[in-house]
Symmetry: none
Subunit: 219 residues, 4 copies
């Protein structure tokens, strides 16, 4: 006779719609990944808004309900993609500069790693770019970007303190680096280069590092 609700569905008043916290089986986790991967591709190719949930589930060949079993909404899925991607980018950069002592080399290797990641994950790079333009996702993207910038600032400040580079606003520098990286990877690796010569990911990474380091007039 006792009515003991063991579990409330979703904490109400939650700012951003959270994922349905489910205990997933192996098969479930696989499905979830599959949805994320396929959706990433479609979002990158066709855009977030133009890609419908129906497109996604049809593309995978499952029923519509499957989507909502794993994600509470299309927006939540997208946010999830962004979060994962940002985490991965950060991890990649950290790994690349681990063990390097010279702050300037840390900066350079960080830039290179960032550029390579962008080159290797063109879909995710595009999603970042879109997310920045959409009211619903700016917030999500800024959290990661702030951390990203903070990471770079740390090394820039160290280099400045060590007298290795001129003393300029490190936050502005970090953003400059970000801008160059985005623009060049997009231009040379995304087919956006108007008449620009095709280049390999490594070449582009070198280019990014060089421009970030010297500007157009430096050295």
């Amino acid at each position: 006779m006792s009515v003991v609700p063991r579990q409330t569905t979703n904490a109400p008043g939650d700012p951003a719609a959270a994922a349905p916290e489910r205990k997933l089986t192996a098969r479930g986790r696989e499905r979830r990944s599959q949805l994320i991967d396929y959706a990433t591709k479609r979002f990158a190719d066709d855009g977030f808004h133009p890609t419908s949930v129906a497109d996604i589930v049809d593309g995978i060949g499952v029923g519509k309900g499957v989507f909502y079993w794993y994600f509470s909404s299309k927006e939540e899925l997208f946010t999830e993609i962004l979060r994962t991607a940002q985490t991965d980018l950060r991890r990649t950069q950290r790994k690349a500069i681990g063990g390097i002592d010279d702050p300037v080399r840390r900066i350079e290797e960080g830039i290179r790693a960032g550029a390579l990641w962008m080159a290797n994950n063109p879909d995710l790079r595009r999603l970042f770019e879109f997310a920045r333009t959409d009211e619903s996702f700016v917030k999500a993207i800024r959290i990661g970007q702030r951390r990203h910038v903070a990471d770079a600032v740390e090394h820039l400040q160290a280099a400045i303190d060590a007298g290795l580079i001129p003393d300029r606003d490190p936050v502005a520098l970090a953003h400059g680096i970000l801008g160059v990286t985005n623009q060049l990877t997009m231009t040379y690796l995304d087919g956006a280069g108007g008449g620009a010569t095709k280049r390999s990911a490594e070449e582009v990474a070198d280019l990014v590092v060089s421009i970030c380091r010297n500007g157009f007039a430096g050295e």
Copy 2:
């Protein structure tokens, strides 16, 4: 009862649907401007996809017919906004460097003018950014971007030829400048700066010029 979209009379040979070629009265031109201005604001604030034609005409307080009297589609309006904006940006930059002989100063003043334009037209800057992410508009935006880059390349090449700056790929440099400009104006003037100090348009422009010129290590 069936709704069969009819082709509007278009300029022949025009690849994308063009505006209905109308001879507008003074009042008509004003209406058109009003639509463009209001739509620009809404597109920038809420996004292109989330903003419906109904939002636009309701916001102005006119009927739906008005919209389709001046534009053949929502896409056409957006394309028109982009085209006008790109033209305006270019004109602004050209005016800024007119009469300057030193190629390096031309570059710097061009950068400054570009950054100032972005700072003064934040809505349009956002629309550029979005347009790059949407399959339907990349083409439109690239035409202008290519010209924009070409302009910069011309001066960079001149500076290189004159031995005023090191000999590096001017196309890459031009793109780097673009990236820095976008990122910094966005960061410091669009509220996107995570903890970054607020700055005036002029300060930001100086910052952009400085970073583009020297990179993080130069000078």
Copy 3:
């Protein structure tokens, strides 16, 4: 160049979704009525939840958009039906007792008018009944019911003050009257009478008045 929004769509923060305030033409007003009438019938016959917006527009033979041109949601339409009906019921009762001096006769004629209204508007009666059971509409229905009870209480109190009827809680009496009216009109005029003899609206009205007046033991 000026952007002058003449009219915002809907006051945001509005508790209940309000109707899209439109200037309707004669044809528009007719459509709206048609939708209300048809929906009333379907809601009464099949229930509010089981009746879909598609059912309604299909039944009338118009496109789905028509519905949302006139009503902002299915709920809003239903609320509108309730409001109109309650107003009509009240007007009917007021007209019926206008000019009667004796408070007891006012009560009796009010009851009779109420019962007749219910008998003549079985669909609306059913909707009232449903609305009381649905979280989303109780509030809407109670506003009217409170007024309805207040009206009755006024006359009951007058009769008590004049020593024409025993001094009992008039609010409780008013609710009792309501209960009898609902139950009997439903039973005898809605096909809900289990084995009960069919009766005319007038007969039922007499029955309601008689029972309300005397109870089972009185007189």
Copy 4:
């Protein structure tokens, strides 16, 4: 891949889909009760249609399969709730008047018992009310109501035959009693009373008896 609803093994000759006839263990019976109790609460609070099977099983913290192990459908569960409740109400009333000889007192005590039951089972009272408004359940509810009325009629007729109360249509009287009981318990015990004073279940029961007995004008 196709989903073809299969007939669950039903008691043959059963008009509506009946519960799977299972021999339940002690634990099984408890689960079933738990489902019924929790569902009753949700149906009463949120409505039958708005409450999904998922809501119910999630609220209890079990899988979907559990639900369909004990009930063949959501409708069947609801019907079951109604049936049980009606049986319980009847039993309560019968017990209350057992051993009373005077038919008038039998009527009064029956009314009181009914009112008290409603007061003590507000959720079930609400479900009765809803069931009367939904095409799918009217039939189920009427069976019980008919019996309920028949019970009352029996005593009313006895009282009339004994000359203890005036000779009026006992069926109508019985329905009148029902209407008063529903309306007053709802008003005073369900928070539906617009400005009406809160009262205890016993007070309300007294009120109901008094009004049913005397009407508004009788002694």
